[in-house]
Amino acid sequence: MRILVCIKQVPNQDAKYAINADNNGIIYDDNTAYWINMYDEHAIEAALQIKESIANSSIDILSIGPKRVESAIRRSLEMGADYGYRLVYEGEVTLSPSIKSQMIAEFCEGREYDLIITGVMSEDMMSGQVGPMLAARLDIPSATAVMQFIINTENNSIWLERELDGGLRGSLELKLPVLITVQSGINRPRYPSFSNVMRAKKSEIIEVATSTHLHNLQYERLVDIPEPEVGRQGIKLTGSLSEKAQALWELLHGKSLI
């Protein structure tokens, strides 16, 4: 099995950020911590489990972005993936999923992956588009929010179960090659083992140039970052820890909730 896992590096949830002068880009503080998108960690784990059960499998990891995304790729190698690729994009403006999917499709050409895995969405932008778009660009089937799957190497297919709304599950079989996006809960991502960490130190992360014409395509364009609507007009408690605890108690007591 030739497996590709596409991962995104995301800023820590409580990272300090600013909005640029044009009000259409988010700039993170220089000492922001970045991680592998949680759902993509599940994608890496899913690939590693296939590699353990199907002989002659190899796992490529791909991420688009500036130099800093190499730490996310490195971490995937430490978990046990084989090769790391960074599709070079130095801009800090988030690319449209349409552009990202075309960059990855370009990379996939001639590489003949049997299975491509990504997370169901990124934690920060939550679009959930790159996976299915990539599959469409490659003209292969896809399934999103996958909770379980079994690969059948004899008839070159994959059986999988998707999580649907309202407690429903849907299962189906697809012919390989296939792209799946995995939902959290599909597995428990492992910690890197010492031997893999040592091995990963020696592996090189390969930089791949992306076609510049893709950088300039226009799809949907971010024009403003407005204040979100407020669901409830609430109050923020003030004072010391003890004063806040007292205030909360009094408010709840006043409403006979405690």
Binding site: M126, E163, R169, Y219, L248, H253
Partner: protein, 318 residues
């Protein structure tokens, strides 16, 4: 640009699903602004006998559309696009919608905006709003390239009941083939009633509790209240700290207790969908910008590991 609109409808037992009616409302807003036409696309197996609504209706029927498959619905939607030639395609951000909508956009090489929560008109131009950055900020988009595919967040728009009317109804027997998909099955997970459904106070733990041992803090907090129950965000259940039957949210339980206390929960749209009907919401989250605070009546911006014991001490004293 004519800005004609096509809505891909989800339906069950000859009825539009509630989310589909919300799409009608969203489409009406756009159609009113652009003075454009709305066409409903209904992928189905049995020819439907739905009374002609005020919109044009295009029924695409094929035995392969009896139930949802990505492959089948993508073909049906593409057929619709070929016939209707819409500039804007509206799809629900449901587990079916987010499965095929991005594919459709890629096949049409158009724009795609997912989980749209509002349509905004500024200076006579239309923009699409969605939530981003872990729910902390909203993002406003302009769809430069057409066609545009949007998926609409359930609950974002009120439902609109279409009037009977003059729409043109067409039936297309489509030659749809499933070349890559087989063995399609649907099953319902057992959803069990738990004490969560009857609790007066739900104390919910999020990833912010940091480690499994801190669940004791949450349980101790719950025991300050009568008829209370402990629940969790999806991440807490995924980690195995709580069973899935305690998960609150769009893929878990929906609760509406008199009091909901969110501890270390960020307030993602998927979680909010499960608790927004609570009568009163208290959030304990040290990040003052976390989305949960916007859905709270009382916000406590503190480290929960310090705050909860302090609060419990106050309760014990009185």
């Amino acid at each position: 640009m004519s800005n004609d609109i096509m809505i891909v409808c989800e339906h069950k037992d000859k009825e539009f699903l509630p989310i589909t009616k919300e799409l009608f409302h969203c489409a009406n807003l756009l159609a009113k602004h652009y003075k454009s036409k709305i066409t409903l696309l209904m992928p189905t197996f049995v020819p439907l006998e739905i009374a002609c609504p005020e919109y044009d209706l295009m029924v695409v029927d094929s035995p392969y559309l009896a139930e949802y498959t990505c492959e089948g619905w993508e073909q049906a939607a593409l057929l619709g696009v070929e016939e209707v030639k819409p500039d804007i395609i509206i799809i629900a951000h449901s587990s079916t919608g987010y499965d095929y909508a991005p594919r459709l956009a890629a096949k049409l090489d158009g724009s795609c905006i997912s989980s749209v929560s509002a349509i905004e008109i500024r200076d006579d131009k239309v923009f699409y709003r969605r939530s981003g950055l872990y729910g902390k900020l909203d993002l406003l988009y302009d769809a430069v390239k057409r066609p545009l595919v949007i998926t609409v967040l359930p609950g974002a728009f009120p439902a609109y009941e279409p009037l009977g009317g003059e729409g043109i109804c067409r039936n297309i027997s489509a030659d749809i083939k499933l070349k890559q998909t087989s063995k399609v099955e649907y099953s319902l997970l057992d959803i069990i009633d738990t004490e969560l459904d009857y609790a007066s106070v739900v104390v919910a733990a999020g990833r912010g509790i940091g480690k499994e041992e801190n669940l004791d803090l949450i349980k101790d907090l719950a025991s300050c209240f009568n008829r209370s129950a402990v629940a969790g965000s999806r991440i807490v259940c995924d980690k195995g700290w709580l069973p899935y039957s305690s998960q609150i949210g769009i893929t878990g339980k929906k609760v509406s207790p008199p009091l909901y206390i969110a501890c270390g929960i960020s307030g993602s749209a998927q979680h909010i969908a499960g608790m927004k009907e609570a009568k009163m919401v208290v959030s304990i989250n040290w990040d003052s910008e976390a989305a949960i605070h916007r859905y709270s009546d009382i916000s406590v911006v503190e480290d929960l590991v310090k705050f909860i014991p302090e609060f419990i001490r106050k309760c014990e004293k009185t």
